[in-house]
Symmetry: C2
Subunit: 132 residues, 2 copies
DNA sequence: ATTTAAAACAGTAATAATTACTGATTTTGA
DNA sequence: TCAAAATCAGTAATTATTACTGTTTTAAAT
């Protein structure tokens, strides 16, 4: 695939993803983009999510549910997984030490560490309210 | 499943897992336990890995390859994924701050954070040597 | 504006990891 | 030793994802 051509379907997929902060799955993207493009195919959604991810325009994430999740926010940031409802949220918090973590880990590791991501888990705000 | 009964297959699965530090997949466990129990079935391996995981005797992990990986070490510790060969390793290093990370994150999060895990990525020792 | 080759599409089939089902075997307490 | 329940082996089903095929869309050159 030498040249990448524009496609409205790909634009719609990225546009939708940018409206969401909850890292939807391919299935969710498909169901929503179908509102605008009723006969878009699931294969097109997968192909474009992978393509966008390869181009670095979005991030592909893996959580414990075993599904691929997609995030239009490509800045390095941490994630939270709710053990009650499975919701995935961004955690914008970074500890002061976070910036130095890679070099610290490198000093005790024989290979070469280039990055890290921290997954938090617990009860999300919604589930906290509902369990009162 | 009220009472849990002993089974040699389950013991063999856990015993094998305890010999490994590289977080094998169900398939790898299957291929190895078959050396001792030649007609163990893949379903048995999956069922017991899930059972052991539910009982808290092992940990089920998810990496970018989309496969389930299993770890007999249930102490909280961090992981490393090699972007070259896909190898998964333990990172025993913990920053001084790591212990306080949950409470720090809690102070800026509306829900309740109960734990975290950090995934490092980079080039593993083996791949570093081979690429010289 | 037309033409044209490559890229992308919709729709469908195939793959691969995992889970569920079934009748036989093993475990364990009585 | 016996019997009920758990577990097993083997197989079928499910589910997420990827690959294939013939048609449509894009974009650059006429």
């Amino acid at each position: 695939m030498a040249v990448i051509k524009y496609s409205r379907q790909r634009k719609a997929i990225k546009d939708f993803l940018m409206t969401r902060k909850d890292h939807p799955t391919a299935e969710t993207v498909y169901l929503n983009v179908r509102k605008t493009y009723p006969n878009i195919s699931l294969g097109t959604v997968y192909r474009n999510l992978t393509l966008l991810s390869d181009m670095g325009e979005i991030q592909k994430l893996h959580f414990k549910d075993g599904l691929d999740h997609f995030d239009a926010d490509t800045r390095p940031h941490n994630h939270f997984l709710c053990t009650e409802c499975g919701a995935v949220l961004d955690i914008d918090f970074q500890s002061d030490n976070d910036f130095h973590l890679d070099e610290q880990a490198n000093s005790v590791f024989d290979g070469k560490i280039t990055g890290h991501i921290t997954y938090f888990q617990g009860i999300c705000p919604d589930c906290c309210i509902n369990s009162v």
